[in-house]
């Protein structure tokens, strides 16, 4: 018996007999009728830069079998695959058929035929190859992907304080490619900061922290924009500064700013990613009343009187502690931007460095909360210095 190996053309012809093909006109009709159909474009990245069929998901041919089950676990859902001319899509359709997908078709003539017919295309903003290389460890995870990275790049996050908590949060958010990071801080770098505030180094002693922070963050990632706000946040400037950002990261060091930020974020409907530290203990949570969560006043209705609230300056703080808490805050920020995982809303994480223990408490929305409760009495920003110094004598 003579064995003849098929040519690639024979092979392709054989495969096309084993799969379904669909014309661009038929696909257009299905899309117009908004049928529940998944279009997968299997061309390479460079090929899809010029555009894709509207709604198409891009998976290069080489990754199709590896990624399909994550993308579409339902093997009965109709799938149409396109490539440039209709050959790679035929091979892809056969592969999915072999994986058990029941309703797969290959687009005859591919993207070229679609364009030739004058049908609409969608041009997705993609990452440049330089950015693809920088963020490769992000984009290869389905929870981030190219789309998630684009979200990070267009996000605007404001750090309150370029100190202990702001340092790790700022470094990680810069590295992650959060596109716009504002930093508000009125201090200059002091020698005693260097034990924990890893944004700064010795050469910046005596210079503004916001400038030192910008220099360091831009050094890690020149893609991003860092906006310094060298001022002290108060009720006259808070709403104006906060309004341009999507998320606020709390790394301030006093109660009056904490209540100010809580109220300002509530009025502006911005998530407030909160962290606080004392010696070896830290607390982290996310306040987001606009999404049903409690606010800082639900958790702590009143601040302690000044004599019962020692600052870090008096009480000391373990240098690594803000590294842990600020990093947890960065995690929450990125999750919120990506819309992934469970945000820490309504949950208070307590961290004890000496015991190396994390615990989690519930935070409930307080119906009697003067800010976000059922009958609010605080309807605009108040005098927070006064509030914090007199709250206990009223």
């Amino acid at each position: 018996m003579l064995l003849t190996m098929p040519s690639s053309q024979d092979y392709l012809n054989q495969i096309k007999k084993e799969i379904k093909e669909i014309s661009v006109e038929e696909l257009k009709k299905k899309l117009d009728k908004k049928e529940n159909l998944l279009v997968i474009d299997v061309r390479e990245k460079e090929e899809t830069e010029g555009g894709v069929i509207p709604g198409a998901t891009k998976i290069p041919r080489g990754f199709l079998e590896l990624k399909i089950e994550n993308l579409e676990p339902n093997k009965n859902r109709p799938i149409v695959i396109n490539c440039a001319g209709g050959n790679r899509s035929a091979l892809s359709a056969k592969a999915l058929q072999d994986l058990g997908y029941q309703n797969v078709s290959s687009l005859k003539g591919g993207y070229a035929a679609w364009q030739h017919a004058g049908f609409p295309i969608e041009q997705k903003k993609g990452l440049s190859s330089d950015k693809m290389a920088r963020y490769a460890r992000h984009t290869s995870m389905p929870e981030v992907g190219e789309e998630g990275q684009l979200k990070l790049l267009s996000a605007k996050v404001l750090l309150i304080g370029a100190g202990g908590l702001g340092s790790p949060a700022g470094l990680y958010l810069a590295a992650a490619g959060v596109g716009t990071i504002g930093i508000i801080d009125n201090d200059v770098v002091d020698k005693s900061n260097l034990q924990r505030q890893i944004l700064h180094d010795e050469s910046w002693e005596g210079l503004p922290k916001v400038e030192s922070a910008r220099h360091r963050m831009k050094g890690i990632n020149s893609d991003i924009k860092v906006i310094p706000h060298q001022t002290r946040l108060d009720r006259t400037n808070a709403l104006e500064i906060l309004k341009d950002y999507d998320i606020v990261v709390n790394g301030c060091d006093n109660f009056s700013t904490r209540y100010l930020l809580n109220d300002a974020c509530y009025f502006l409907k911005k998530p407030l990613v909160d962290g606080s530290i004392f010696r070896f203990e830290g607390q982290v949570t996310v306040f987001d009343p606009a999404r049903g969560g409690p606010c800082y006043r639900c958790l702590y209705p009143l601040p302690p009187p000044p004599e019962m609230a020692p600052s870090c300056q008096e009480a000391g703080v373990f240098g690594v502690l803000p590294g842990i808490i600020g990093s947890l805050q960065a995690v929450e920020v990125i999750k919120i931007i990506l819309g992934q995982g469970e945000p820490l809303i309504g949950k208070l994480i307590l961290y004890d460095a000496l015991k190396q223990k994390f615990r989690e408490m519930k935070i409930r929305r307080d119906k009697t909360c003067p800010l976000c409760g059922d009958n609010p009495t605080i309807k605009e920003l108040i005098d927070y210095e006064w509030f914090c110094s007199t709250a206990h004598s009223q």
């Binding site: 301030c252 060091d253 109660f255 019962m308 020692p310 206990h392």
Partner: protein, 92 residues
């Protein structure tokens, strides 16, 4: 029956630097009273002059804030853990 109580750092100077102590009682109030008899001075840090729990300190039975249960009359049972968690403001 003994209930485990977690003491936060700022109050540990009143509990001989212990972060975890035991006290007995049927309610949170009883447990705190029993703590006061062991560690003098704790009560005035936890209650204000009107006998109300201070509002910048939260008390949890396991993971529930007692303000959303029955306050200091919340009943505790063997094996429960009370955590005392004050507001802290540090960040820099």
């Amino acid at each position: 029956m003994p209930i485990k109580v977690r003491i936060p750092t700022p109050l540990q100077k009143l509990t001989q630097n212990k972060g975890e102590v035991e006290a007995s009682g049927q309610t949170v109030a009883q447990v705190l009273a029993s703590l006061e008899s062991q560690y003098n001075g704790l009560k005035t840090r936890l209650y204000d002059e009107n006998g109300q729990l201070r509002r910048f300190i939260n008390f949890y039975v396991n993971d529930e804030d007692i303000r959303f249960l029955q306050g200091d009359q919340t009943v505790v049972k063997d094996g429960d853990e009370i955590s005392i968690v004050p507001a802290i403001a540090g960040g820099s």
